[in-house]
Symmetry: C2
DNA sequence: TCTATATTTCGATTACTATAGAAATATAGA
DNA sequence: TCTATATTTCTATAGTAATCGAAATATAGA
């Protein structure tokens, strides 16, 4: 069995950076937010576009980017493509940030993330 | 007193997206990681550059970007500029992601972030 | 097969973003 | 003031990314 991925693993850092970047635009962050609110079924492309008022070709590019970074998954049902948030990728990302900020270092107290509000 | 910022606040989404984007390159994610490991004192620009092998002009641009997004703070001590991770901005970011994934929606179980590994 | 609808791909434009050498600026100390 | 060191700004280049209308493709159903 391979050793667990460390935060210093160059490939992991690059993957995490790419995922942060993929979520780092307003339209795509809204897409992720919307898909999470419809988790785990997800939403059809057309409904995402209608909800967020994004032209279909633009939306298609954004979804492709999120898909390339494994932040979303797709399944086809007839003519429709259902996009869902990929909780595994989000877990890795959130786990990394949590570890860096709250565990490996003590920049943020855990209860400020976990309990409050 | 102003109402607490909701996740739907357009300005907050844009700010969070900009911060995700700012951390969304390998060099800048490494810078943040390094600054967190030296938190709260932070590090001098030259030491960051030496550690990560980034030319000074390139590093300066990366630091400027992180500073513009409030992800780092700077203080001068003589000739040296000390950069530190800004835990408040990181807390907002981590809090948002945690809420979207674990609280508002149930895409990830909290204990998968908080306890494991 | 023909039509309607869903989604992507094409093509083009525009605008950022990362990079880094060289020059400029800032501070401390002699 | 002069020098040394730290850091930024200038300048340029190359690559990447966001946008979206129009055309192409995919699927279902009549």
């Amino acid at each position: 069995m391979a050793a667990p991925k460390k935060a210093q693993d160059p490939a992991q850092i690059i993957r995490l950076a790419d995922r942060l970047s993929a979520m780092g635009t307003e339209p795509r962050l809204r897409i992720m937010q919307l898909l999470l609110s419809a988790h785990p079924e997800g939403l059809v492309v057309g409904d995402i576009g209608t909800e967020l008022e994004i032209p279909s070709s633009t939306l298609s590019h954004h979804l492709e980017k999120l898909k390339n970074e494994q932040l979303v998954t797709v399944r086809r049902e007839g003519t429709f493509l259902w996009y869902s948030a990929n909780s595994e990728a989000l877990e890795e990302l959130l786990g990394f940030l949590y570890a860096e900020c709250c565990t490996r270092n003590k920049a943020i107290e855990p209860q400020r993330i976990v309990c409050c509000k």
